[in-house]
Symmetry: none
Subunit: 370 residues, 2 copies
Amino acid sequence: MARNIPEAPALPLNTIMPGDSADAMDSLPECSVDLIFADPPYNLQLRGNLHRPDNSRVDAVDDHWDQFESLKAYDAFTRRWMRAARRVLKPDGAIWVIGSYHNIFRVGAALQDQGFWLLNDVVWRKTNPMPNFRGKRLTNAHETMIWASKSESSRYTFNYEAMKAANEGVQMRSDWTFPICTGHERLKNERGEKAHPTQKPEALLHRLLVATTNPGDVVLDPFFGTGTTGAVATMLGRNFIGIEREAEYRELAAQRIARVRSLDPAALEVTTSKRAEPRVAFGQLVERGMLRPGEELLSGNGRHSARIRADGTLAGDGFKGSIHQVGAAMEGAPSCNGWTYWHYRREGKAVSIDTLRQQIRAELATSQIN
Amino acid sequence: MARNIPEAPALPLNTIMPGDSADAMDSLPECSVDLIFADPPYNLQLRGNLHRPDNSRVDAVDDHWDQFESLKAYDAFTRRWMRAARRVLKPDGAIWVIGSYHNIFRVGAALQDQGFWLLNDVVWRKTNPMPNFRGKRLTNAHETMIWASKSESSRYTFNYEAMKAANEGVQMRSDWTFPICTGHERLKNERGEKAHPTQKPEALLHRLLVATTNPGDVVLDPFFGTGTTGAVATMLGRNFIGIEREAEYRELAAQRIARVRSLDPAALEVTTSKRAEPRVAFGQLVERGMLRPGEELLSGNGRHSARIRADGTLAGDGFKGSIHQVGAAMEGAPSCNGWTYWHYRREGKAVSIDTLRQQIRAELATSQIN
DNA sequence: TAAAACACTGAATCCAAAC
DNA sequence: GGTTTGGATTCAGTGTTTT
């Protein structure tokens, strides 16, 4: 290059930066990241203590980082980090922000005001939300995510076919159903308490990253917490940059991500071409972690095997496609019911993947009651 | 009344007012309606009127120039009608606003800025949304409704038990699933075309009105369209006030509502909560001889006991006070419902004292029949 | 050992009448 | 109008203890 352009500082890929979100983003080169996922404080304005009907006390989010003096102060905070985020985003980049009714309207208006172009609002429906204990309102059973590109003209990433494959062969909708983060996935601190009050489920980030990034992309999370974004990005072969103010969270997140194994690149290939779409819910098993990308499936007769890919398709013996297509190809048959054809291994035994589909159907049946 | 207060103008109940929404609301008496349902437009087509000073084409680099102008105009429109709505709302009244991601964030922020108190955001999940034909985004399968009271201290209406009963006995959630308005319910004009582009399903208004109004309440809809709110309100024994600018819509709505038959009042009764039942003092049980002073009461778990005193208080383990206070003190709990906590012995069995309260309430109910 | 019972928990703007 | 008091109120799930 003939011109004397100062070299841009290298991106601190796959590390967790300390300090304030906006300050840290300002230290990064502009137009350098592909996607931003932001889970900012919600500004809950809780009054007194809340007790369950059995008189146990609800462990509320009363952390100092969620306290703001006024809506005006919250707006100033929002616009500050959002402007910094906008600067580091590539022209064709996009942003996701998650929130509840307490803050999401401020966030959405700020995005529009700063020139972001809204693509969808996505509802995370919780299968197991906390009830409204006093019976004074509706059960607050969802959170809202806003997906926006940097500008109206951005050529943003959207893996349409992968989403369609993960949704029984029909277009992915704007409402996504997942359980809240509990059990073994929920990080604990040394005292055995939940490490972070608002840890998000990995399944949510899995779908989001498969939908709107490609392998090798750079994903920035300015409110990193205990690192769900980093863990899922690493598993999916994406690079991450985390920013987190609290040292304890940084430490836990780093340990967590160190335990994550990246998936084989073949498993990360996203289906791009059109194909005859069977009605497959197989992708949900992967998003929910019931089956791992890269895991091997066996045919019932034991003669064939294939590996699971992150977008809910299979690959093996040179064949790629849905569970039905690959099964049919391997058997040289005109068609094949992948649900009964394929089995996974658990404790030495081969179990039909159809049992997993039945589990999900049972969940949906209870959670989709009006 | 001694003072010379001018009589408030009568409300134009169950009629459709012409003209601009905000102007019409300004002509109504303040603090006079129980609920407002607003389905404001967001396709104001402001962009066509905007020109740069030099008439140059707006190109991709700064193509959000006109976006800012139209957002500003939309905000002004929103704040104008919303302020008028706020004025006519009773202090304990509430408002619902429905919108999509194009406008709902402006609406929600405006509600908060004007002092409304957000109660829930509710997601209308469409079972049959229009697909995204270009495959560039997620299927836009929901709309968002915001439910807010006039102020933080408003004692808003919420028929908790009715909602719970309508949801298989568990609390109603913040996501509601309904099909979009099609078929016979969809109003047609004389040319056989759909009469209104955004007609809402009656099922949606049905649930909303049952949840947050009582029979006889006044429901105002400032963007009346073809009158879904008026039709459902009439069927449910609520009064409505509609405002609609377009004469064609007013005419269709009036015809539609004229065809509606109100439901029988008995059908409109909703499951009452215990809160609505008359209070009974524990002392009444002693006065009536249902329980004797000196008699021992047992906690349901059998771990505690107390003795009844002649004035209707309890004493035990060094604690004295109401049935609630003594129960709470013995359990070390912040509060306690003494009616369900305490039991008395009859023929060797422990019987809840709440059965005695129910006897008294039954007597009161029969004695109040004229 | 299996089944049943019990304890605990999750981003929550969570009461209202009487004095 | 602030304070006191009565008393109404929970779903899905995980993990542990008891039967």
